[in-house]
């Protein structure tokens, strides 16, 4: 009910602003990857702040995107050589989000025009950049498409049409599922308000996705002090293995 409160507060406050603006709430602005992390659901909700009456033209539509950190991806292609399938060539896609979800309040082509999509990089294929992709390889576009296809099948990329609920052209909310296999980093949540396929307002905020506790400790130790991490791994494993078999010996002797 917090978003209702926020909305009520907003209507009560007379602030000079653009015609329609987003005010946002998140159920959580950080995701902690713990040892028993099994995915997460983030509730994104908000209200539209406006000074003027609701326009009587097309209804207001809302697009919510959540994007993982942008990282270069090396895409490899297999081909049959000597009877077996091996990687033959690769293309570096400059920048692709590790996670990308788009939620809309209506079918995608009805909420936004192609030019606006191009400008704000909203749809999945626009969110991936491969300008520097090696052009000498035939079908470099196939490699960028492969990123989308592979990540869609891993449920890392998704378009969820009609999953944003818009109430009275003022309140909106949606829930974004994030899978268990998340890459840590700064995630970005973007909210676009559109009318007639044009973006009238947008808003951006960060969601912090981090390994915490033991996960954090082991991960950073393995990167920063790999030598000690290796020794520790050996020591822990030996202690565990020896301890377990010593326990069994005791059990058998008694």
């Amino acid at each position: 009910m917090r978003f209702l409160l926020i909305a009520i507060l907003l209507f009560a406050l007379p602030v000079q602003a653009a015609e329609e603006e987003v005010v946002l709430g998140l159920s959580q602005d950080r995701v902690a990857i713990t040892a028993d992390f099994d995915g997460s659901e983030i509730l994104i909700f908000g209200a539209v702040k406006r000074e003027t009456p609701i326009p009587v033209t097309e209804p207001l539509q809302v697009i919510v995107t959540v994007s993982g950190p942008q990282q270069p991806v090396l895409v490899r292609r297999k081909e049959r050589k000597f009877g077996i399938w091996i990687n033959v060539d690769s293309v570096l896609v400059d920048s692709a989000p590790t996670f990308y979800a788009v939620a809309t309040s209506a079918p995608f082509d009805q909420v936004i025009t192609d030019t606006e999509d191009l400008r704000y990089r909203i749809s999945i294929k626009r969110a991936i950049r491969s300008v520097g992709a090696a052009m000498h390889i035939r079908g470099a576009q196939d490699f960028a498409d492969a990123v989308v296809r592979v990540r869609e099948s891993e449920e890392l990329y998704s378009v969820r049409e009609n999953t944003v609920a818009v109430d009275q052209q003022t309140l909106f909310r949606t829930a974004i599922d994030m899978p268990a296999d998340l890459t840590e980093g700064d995630y970005t949540a973007r909210i676009f308000l559109t009318r007639n396929g044009k973006v009238v307002s947008h808003y951006e905020t960060n969601i912090d996705v981090r390994k915490v506790g033991l996960e954090r400790f082991l991960y950073s130790m393995s990167r920063e002090q790999p030598f000690w991490y290796g020794l520790m791994s050996l020591a822990i494993a030996i202690a565990a293995g020896w301890g377990a078999s010593a326990a069994f010996r005791l059990l058998r002797n008694n």
Binding site: D38, V73, R76, W85, T183, P226, F227, A237, G241, W242
Partner: protein, 306 residues
């Protein structure tokens, strides 16, 4: 209960890992083998990246061999001098293996290398074991079966750099044991196995070591070489997942205890033929991966070797 593995960066069911460890543990208890050559491919099947599977398995082998080595030291069934010679070879082999591994990782061919090695080795070992145990069963049905006489003199004795190995009662050149050590070290680095399934026959048939010291000495070699391999992978690839290793280990130790007990009630030939079949099945599944047209021709990876 899902558990997020910090290095592999995948979320896996903890009981699945304990179960896998247990299953391979039962097999290793029954057959007296290390089990690394079964565990690593099984980890591929459940979605652990091959580079992490290989490095983590090396770590797990150190731990699961540790109590075995202690027991053999107590019984004085370790030829320490021979072990050290094998280890010298093993360290060279492991360093070379990791070098090849990292080079191919940068080329994007390491998964292929690991899988190919598995297909070849599992195919050869499984096939030979199957034929041999089938013959043994057929022979034992026909007659009492005569033990094959060990070859007395061979080319081994013609090589230079001879050394006396008192515990084994041998006076042979150090070249063959070093070569055996090197090949096992390469296997450890690339495949994440101890290499006992290669080393034990090599020690008996090529070096002519007495059977009673073979297991202890091979474990002594394996523990040093896999520990070295673990360190190399941990410092160059950052791919040792301690959480994964501990879960597999706990399952493995429990499984091994159960397996040893099951093994007592079964005939050696039957056990061997079972193990051979299992090895062939794993080999076949991996081979399918390489031979059949994959449903997705493209794969994603991080940029270059870090």
């Amino acid at each position: 209960m899902q558990i997020y593995l910090p290095i592999a960066e995948v979320s896996v069911n903890a009981f699945l890992l304990l179960g896998l460890g247990g299953m391979v543990g039962i097999l290793s208890g029954m057959f007296g083998v290390g089990g690394g050559f079964l565990m690593t491919p099984l980890l591929f099947f459940i979605g652990i990246p091959p580079v992490v599977a290989v490095a983590t398995e090396a770590n797990q082998i150190v731990a699961s061999s540790f109590s075995g080595v202690l027991a053999h030291f107590r019984r004085r069934t370790v030829d320490i001098k021979m072990g050290l010679v094998l280890q010298a070879g093993g360290l060279i082999g492991a360093a070379f293996g990791v070098l090849v591994f990292n080079y191919l990782k940068a080329q994007g061919q390491v998964d292929l290398l690991v899988k190919l090695c598995y297909v070849v080795f599992l195919g050869v070992v499984g096939g030979l074991m199957f034929i041999e145990s089938l013959n043994a069963i057929l022979k034992s049905k026909k007659s009492g079966g005569a033990a094959a006489a060990r070859r007395q003199r061979s080319w081994i004795h013609a090589l230079p750099f001879k050394m006396r190995f008192r515990t084994s009662g041998l006076y042979i050149s150090v070249i063959p044991p070093v070569l055996v050590g090197i090949s096992v070290g390469i296997l450890a680095a690339i495949m994440g196995v101890g290499g006992g399934f290669i080393m034990v026959p090599a020690m008996i048939y090529i070096l002519g070591m007495p059977t009673k010291v073979v297991i202890g000495t091979s474990l002594f070699q394996i523990i040093t070489v896999t520990a070295f391999t673990t360190m190399l992978h941990a410092t160059t690839n950052y791919t040792v997942d301690i959480v994964l290793a501990v879960l597999l280990l706990i399952g493995g130790v429990i499984g091994a205890q159960i397996g040893t007990r099951i093994g007592v009630y079964m005939k050696a030939e039957q056990l061997r033929i079972l193990l051979a079949l299992m090895v062939i099945i794993v080999c076949g599944t991996l081979a399918m991966d390489l031979l059949l047209t994959p449903s997705e021709l493209f794969s994603l990876g991080a940029q270059g070797g870090h």
